[in-house]
Amino acid sequence: MTEAVPSYLSPTGQEIIFLLLGAVAVGSGLLVVTTRQLVHAALWLVVCFGALAGCYLVLTAEFVAWVQVLIYVGAVVVLLLFGIMLTRAPIGRSADLDSGNKIVAAVVAVATAAVLVTVVIDGFRTAYTPLDPGAGAAKELGSAIFRNWVLPFEALSVLLLAALIGAIVISRTDIRGRD
């Protein structure tokens, strides 16, 4: 961390790829929150998550990247699409996807971005890390999880179970609370 920081003006290949993927992720994210078609939003979300998975790959976090693809792209977005269908949302353009809060929201979001970017640039201007492949491979992560993070992992499984039961209880109509 203390070594000399390479110039920003001569990016490496990894950086160029990362920036391209980041631009795709940010751009598709913007489309997610601005598109007028509900289903398109879900699809742009897929693009965004995919680009993020690419970013993870560039950052040598292979396992996380694959998990991202599997769970987010494969499960979460599909779940969201089911949700869109089940709430009988209109397929196609709809004019009222944004609430009246839009302008204030934009102001707050831009302010957030400004603050965060300023702070990040201010704080990590000199931070640089070389990337060595294999650091985030499945083997490494697996040994980390099952050696050092077993207890949180098990707790998380219980959490998942609870969420599962909760979702069932909430969505089923024939289960009533005790009166």
Binding site: V108, T112, V115
Partner: protein, 646 residues
């Protein structure tokens, strides 16, 4: 010795507590039977301790003070000043406890000397008579238990005043008397006039009491002690300015309690209370407290000449004015009330003239015969059903006992021998006569006092005769009796009063007639002859006027003076205009200010708050997104602040 005095004071107090708390206990029967049972129990609770107190007071007077009956102690020369054995010379003082106040301690103590013993006997005997009399007078009254308890409390307070050895302890009794007076005058509070009279008595006497309290403070601070003995011992060392200020302040309290000009207006109105109360409070004891205090602190007064002059002028005004007012009243009780003011002014005159023994002598005899007169008047009112003399007449056949006893009372009031009033009034007149030539008074004040006293003797004879004639002689006008007002007795058949009312009258008639004989050796025959002649002159004039037309009021001989006399020289109206109206207007102004400004500010702030909260609640519209927006914006601001200033 002191323990017996304390017992005499405490017994009526305990009886008051018992009467107030225990009359209806146990059981809460509110029907006729329950009332009757409660009344009977309350009567026993009230009468027996008062009787014991009377015995104790009599015993104290007989064993210790040589008492009034002995007559030796009071036989000092009229100008002798502290002839009544300055307190402490032969009195027995006992201190029960000392209350440490940080500066001047208050010693709760009692003193029994001649003055206290004499007054104690007067108080307890009259209180006992009144208690017994009330049993019959208020038969069937639902509030009799509280009434008798208040009388007991009153008796206790008066005894405390009489026996107190410390000025502040005395003041306690003094104030309790004011309270009891208020409660008892307002006994029939359903009638608005009665409660007004009660409030008036309370306020007027309280006005004087403020001065009294500060007078005590001045004396106590100057003597560095509140003990009466210490105060009197320190009198020679005090500056005359201090003494004059203290005694003038005390005089305000005395004028309030003893109904002297200019604070006398409450007494006639206080006749709205039951008649025994008039006898007890407003004739024999409470009004006597003022005179008693002056006699108690007499050395201080003697040392303050200007105060005595003021007292003399007030007494001169009061005795003649009140007597003239009494001459024009139609209400029998008001006649007696004004006569009380007049007679109290006599005592004040004796004090001003430098003879406290004459004042106390007159106080005692007046207490006896005025209580007698009031109780007789109560019997008459009880029989007739009205307070007004225009409703009476010819009662001597129907009420023979009352006739005889009341005749004795009137004779004493007029100062005819051999009734007690003759002797006491003679001593007062002799003292005043002597004051013209020598004594503490300035010449002008003394002359005014003497002339006024002689004139008052004539007017007293006139109004006594008038009341006597109009009540017992002539014929009774045939008038359809109105519904008895709450202020009068309910029974309207004309017959002699019940035994409980009859016997106190008869018993009181004895001292009223004979009490003066103990001082027969001291009669100044010249003055006495003049006084009797003047009194008979007044009486004869009234009799002549009455003979010419027995049905109409002899007061018509006053001519154009009659209306002012009947209204007591418009003092009430003047007070109404000068004090009551401006105060009421001020009070209304304050109320309006309170309503408009203070409450307006409160209400306005409430309304402003409501309006502002209405603005605030516009944002609380339930839109969760808006809330989150606000939340994030706030977090942003905080983090920006933290980054920039942190």
């Amino acid at each position: 010795m002191i323990i017996f005095a304390a017992l005499a004071v405490l017994l009526p107090f305990l009886s008051a507590a018992a009467g107030l708390l225990g009359s209806r206990w146990p059981g809460h029967a509110r029907d006729e039977q329950g009332d009757e049972r409660a009344n009977r129990r309350a009567a026993w609770v009230a009468v027996v301790p008062t009787g014991i107190s009377a015995v104790l007071a009599g015993w104290l007077a007989a064993t210790h003070g040589a008492g009034f009956g002995g007559g030796e102690v009071l036989t000092s020369s009229p100008s002798g000043g502290t002839g009544n054995g300055g307190p402490g010379t032969d009195g027995v003082t006992g201190t029960l406890t000392v209350v440490d106040t940080g500066s001047i301690p208050i010693s709760v103590g009692l003193v029994v000397d001649d003055l206290a013993a004499t007054a104690g006997v007067l108080v307890t005997v009259v209180a006992l008579a009144v208690q017994i009399y009330s049993v019959g007078y208020l038969r069937g009254d639902r509030r009799y238990p509280s009434y008798s308890a208040f009388i007991s409390l009153f008796t206790s307070a008066m005894l405390l005043v009489v026996y107190a050895a410390d000025l502040l302890v005395l003041y306690v009794g003094w104030e309790i008397m004011g309270l009891c007076s208020y409660l008892l005058i307002g006994h029939w509070w359903e009638d608005r006039a009665n409660s007004r009279a009660a409030v008036k008595a309370f306020l007027v006497t309280r006005l004087g009491d403020v001065g009294f309290l500060f007078g005590i403070f001045v004396l106590g601070a100057a003597a560095d002690s509140f003990k009466i003995n210490d105060v009197l011992a320190a009198v020679p060392q005090m500056s005359s300015g201090t003494l004059i200020a203290a005694t003038l302040l005390l005089l305000a309290g005395v004028a309030g309690k003893s109904a002297q000009v200019p604070l006398h207006t409450w007494l006639p109105d206080a006749m709205a209370g039951p008649t025994p109360i008039s006898a007890l409070i407003h004739a024999a004891t409470m009004v006597a407290a003022g005179i008693f205090i002056v006699a108690r602190l007499y050395p201080a007064f003697l040392a303050a000449g200007p105060t005595l002059d003021v007292l003399a002028v007030l007494a001169a005004l009061g005795m003649l004015g009140a007597a003239l007012a009494a001459l024009a009243q139609d209400d029998l009780k008001r006649v007696l009330a004004y006569s009380t003011i007049s007679q109290l002014a006599y005592m004040a005159a004796a004090l001003a003239a430098g003879s406290d023994s004459a004042a106390i002598f007159h106080l005692v005899t007046h207490g006896a015969f005025k209580a007698l007169l009031f109780l007789c008047a109560g019997a008459v009112i009880h029989a007739v059903g009205s307070n007004l003399m225009s409703m009476m007449g010819g009662l001597r056949k129907e009420l023979p006992i009352t006739f005889v006893t009341m005749t004795i009372g009137f004779a004493a009031l007029m100062g005819l021998p051999p009734a007690s009033g003759f002797f006491s009034k003679d001593e007062v007149l002799a003292a005043v006569e002597q004051a013209v030539s020598q004594g503490p008074l300035t010449d002008a004040a003394a002359l005014l006092l003497y002339g006024s006293a002689l004139a008052t003797v004539a007017v007293t004879g006139a109004y006594s005769t008038r009341a006597w004639l109009r009540t017992f002689f002539g014929t009774r006008p045939i008038v359809a009796l109105p519904e008895p007002a709450p202020g009068t007795a309910r029974v309207i058949e004309t017959h002699e009063a019940p035994a409980t009312m009859k016997w106190p009258i008869i018993v009181l008639a004895v001292p009223a007639l004979l009490l003066g004989l103990v001082r027969i050796a001291d009669v100044h025959w010249g003055t006495a002859g003049l006084s009797v002649a003047v009194a008979l002159l007044g009486a004869g004039a009234v009799y002549a006027v009455w003979r010419s037309d027995p049905l109409s009021d002899p007061a018509r001989m006053l001519g154009p003076l009659r209306a002012p006399c009947e209204r007591a020289f418009y003092v009430d109206s003047v007070y109404q205009w000068v004090f009551a109206r401006p105060v009421l207007a001020l009070a209304r102004l304050v109320v309006r200010t309170d309503d408009r400004v203070v409450d307006g500010a409160v209400r306005g702030s409430g309304r402003v708050t409501l309006g502002l909260s209405g603005l605030v609640r516009l944002t609380q519209n339930g839109n969760a997104q808006l809330y989150v927006t606000g939340l994030l914006a706030g977090v942003l601001l905080i983090s920006v602040g933290a980054v920039m200033f942190g």
